[in-house]
């Protein structure tokens, strides 16, 4: 398995607060990795560093073997690593379709055209296809502010995926979504991801979701990775149970997924 993303001794300090300490992670092509940890454990900091939003204090980040330290978010995106957000980051005064068309046009070229129309037939067709894939085609012409939270999260992820990235980072894809919507949402997302053959790393609080979809789990605690491995093994780890997941009664639904 080739390594797509690797971090070496990644550190981040905010003044006296250590948000990341010697993170050494290797993600391989095709993996679906879950990141768990309580609030403030450094999960989002990790994603923000990897995608260029935050500059690490020390360390090295390699994407496809090349350093992306100090690169801007847009350079990292163009290199093939896309992300979604805890709170869906959309264009609130546009329709769902236009949100996707903008994302598509952005993926096609870094230099937008000055005079030829953005909403070309080809782009509309492709965007509609993706909307269908994500099951939100019925919101095609709604303003994004008028669609339910779950659909917004899906649009957010669809915008990241429409550019055919090699790797996708999902920051709490199910946060803010009701319990009974979560599974449906994740099924939709994971199906789409599988079809595109994308490597996925996602941050998640819901252990059921983690167990169901990931092939590997990273457990964070106060800026450090305290466990890394198969979901069953990590979730059974005493330290993880003490510091991250709390003491859950038993494992409910089978033994992990994929």
């Amino acid at each position: 398995m080739t390594c797509i993303l690797e971090t070496r001794s990644l550190n981040k300090e905010f003044g006296a607060v250590i948000a990341a300490k010697d993170l050494n992670v290797q993600i391989h092509k095709g993996e679906v990795v879950g990141v768990i940890g309580s609030n403030g454990a450094g999960k989002t900091t990790f994603i923000n560093m990897v995608t260029g939003y935050l500059k690490p204090t020390r360390g090295e980040i390699l994407f496809n073997g090349k350093s992306i330290m100090g690169h801007s978010p847009r350079a990292i995106t163009r290199a093939g690593m896309a992300r979604s957000f805890q709170v869906a980051q959309l264009f609130p005064e546009m329709t769902v379709l236009d949100n996707l068309i903008v994302a598509l046009a952005a993926a096609e070229s870094a230099r937008p055209s000055f005079l030829s129309p953005l909403r070309s037939d080809a782009r509309i067709a492709r965007a509609e296809e993706v909307l269908k894939e994500f099951g939100v085609a019925n919101y095609r012409d709604s303003m994004v502010t008028a669609v339910p939270q779950g659909a917004r999260k899906l649009v957010d992820i669809a915008m990241a995926l429409i550019g055919n990235p090699q790797m996708l980072l999902l920051d709490e894809p199910t946060s803010g979504v009701s319990m009974d919507e979560k599974t449906g949402l994740m099924d939709t997302v994971m199906n789409a991801v599988r079809q595109h053959g994308v490597t996925v790393l996602f941050v998640e609080h819901d252990m059921d979701v983690v167990e169901r979809y990931v092939s590997r789990v990273l457990a964070f605690y106060s800026g450090e990775i305290i466990a890394d491995g198969k979901p069953a093994a990590v979730l059974a780890d005493q330290q993880v149970r003490d510091l991250v997941t709390g003491h859950r009664p038993t494992i409910k639904q089978g033994n992990g997924a994929s």
Partner: protein, 315 residues
């Protein structure tokens, strides 16, 4: 090149304006010329407003356009109006490409204030330049159009009017396309969510930069036409209150449609002209109340009167 319905209507209206010029009294032609020329400057303000930036210094490019046309005729022997106007746009583009490097790092109030500062610096330079007449400025005359010199008076006035209408039409069609093209829509996207644009792999800064430069060129064209129409330029063109007027007109029209700035500029000119005539001592107050009324009752500008029944319409 296929024209859509908006473009055809714009063309028809422009034709109507040119014909209307034959029967309209001189003062009205002049008022419309100035209003339309200023509307071009306002188009520059509106282009930036769409991307979320409010320029309180668009007078900079208005002034550059005007002074280039004036100096071209006065000092460099460029008497052809089209050449002089193009030169004005060219100079504005060069200056905008330099200033844009700094300005696109700023947003909101900081962009507004810094653009104002640059405009005031030009004002200061012109006031210091006694060769250019300091605050008195200088007159712009003896221009030609492709070698043809329109007769002084009504003839040249009508020529400038027609030139302004035609420029207005060309710019309106281009901006209409621009707002629907990649850069236009994505600039709006920058206003709505800059972080997301960055994470789509685009550079908001360079988008705003391109938009800033394009807006500068349009505004300079408006300044050049104003210089030809009034026959005079002075540093007041770069003073911050002039830029404030452009923002005023931009809000009056709203961002709803490419035609809105033109209509707003005409309405503004009428309101001001009649306010000056009927309440010469308190015309500014009338303008102030008009502006407040627009903000409170027509937050999307005059254009929302036109598009009111079209719910959910986006420009």
């Amino acid at each position: 090149m296929r024209l859509d319905k908006t473009e055809i209507s714009l063309g028809l209206i422009a034709l109507g304006c040119v014909l209307f010029g034959f029967v309209s009294p001189g003062w009205l032609i002049f008022l419309l010329t100035i209003a339309l020329a200023k509307a071009l400057v306002v188009q520059g303000v509106v282009m930036q407003m769409r991307s979320g930036l409010v320029s309180f210094g668009q007078g900079l490019f208005y002034c550059i356009g005007g002074y280039t046309v004036g100096m071209g005729g006065q000092f460099f022997g460029i008497h052809d109006a089209v050449a002089a106007l193009s030169l004005g746009m060219f100079v504005a583009i060069i200056i905008a490409m330099l200033l844009g490097l700094l300005l696109t790092r700023y947003r909101e109030i900081f962009f507004a204030m810094l653009s104002l500062a640059f405009s005031m610096i030009l004002f200061g330079i012109l006031v210091k330049s006694q060769e250019l007449g300091s605050t008195d400025g200088f007159n712009v005359h003896d221009w030609t159009l492709f070698g043809w010199a329109p007769e002084a008076g009504a003839g040249s006035q009508y020529t400038v009017f027609t030139m302004t209408v035609v420029s207005g039409l060309i710019v309106a069609v281009l901006i209409h396309r621009y707002t629907k093209a990649g850069i236009g829509v994505i600039c709006e996207a920058v206003r709505e969510n800059e972080v997301r644009v960055e994470y789509l792999g685009l550079s908001p800064r360079w988008l705003l930069y391109g938009n800033y430069v394009a807006a500068a060129a349009v505004s300079a064209l408006g300044g050049g036409l104003t210089a030809l129409a009034t026959g005079h330029v002075d540093p007041e063109m770069a003073y911050w209150t002039t830029s404030g007027e452009f923002v005023f007109i931009a809000l009056l029209g709203g961002l709803g449609h490419v035609a809105a700035p033109f209509i707003a500029a005409i309405v503004f000119s009428f309101v001001r002209t009649y306010a000056i005539e009927f309440v010469p001592h308190t015309w500014q107050m009338i303008l102030g109340f008009t502006l407040l009324a627009v903000i409170i009752f027509l937050p999307k500008g005059l254009w929302s009167l036109v598009s009111r029944e079209k719910t959910g319409e986006r420009a």
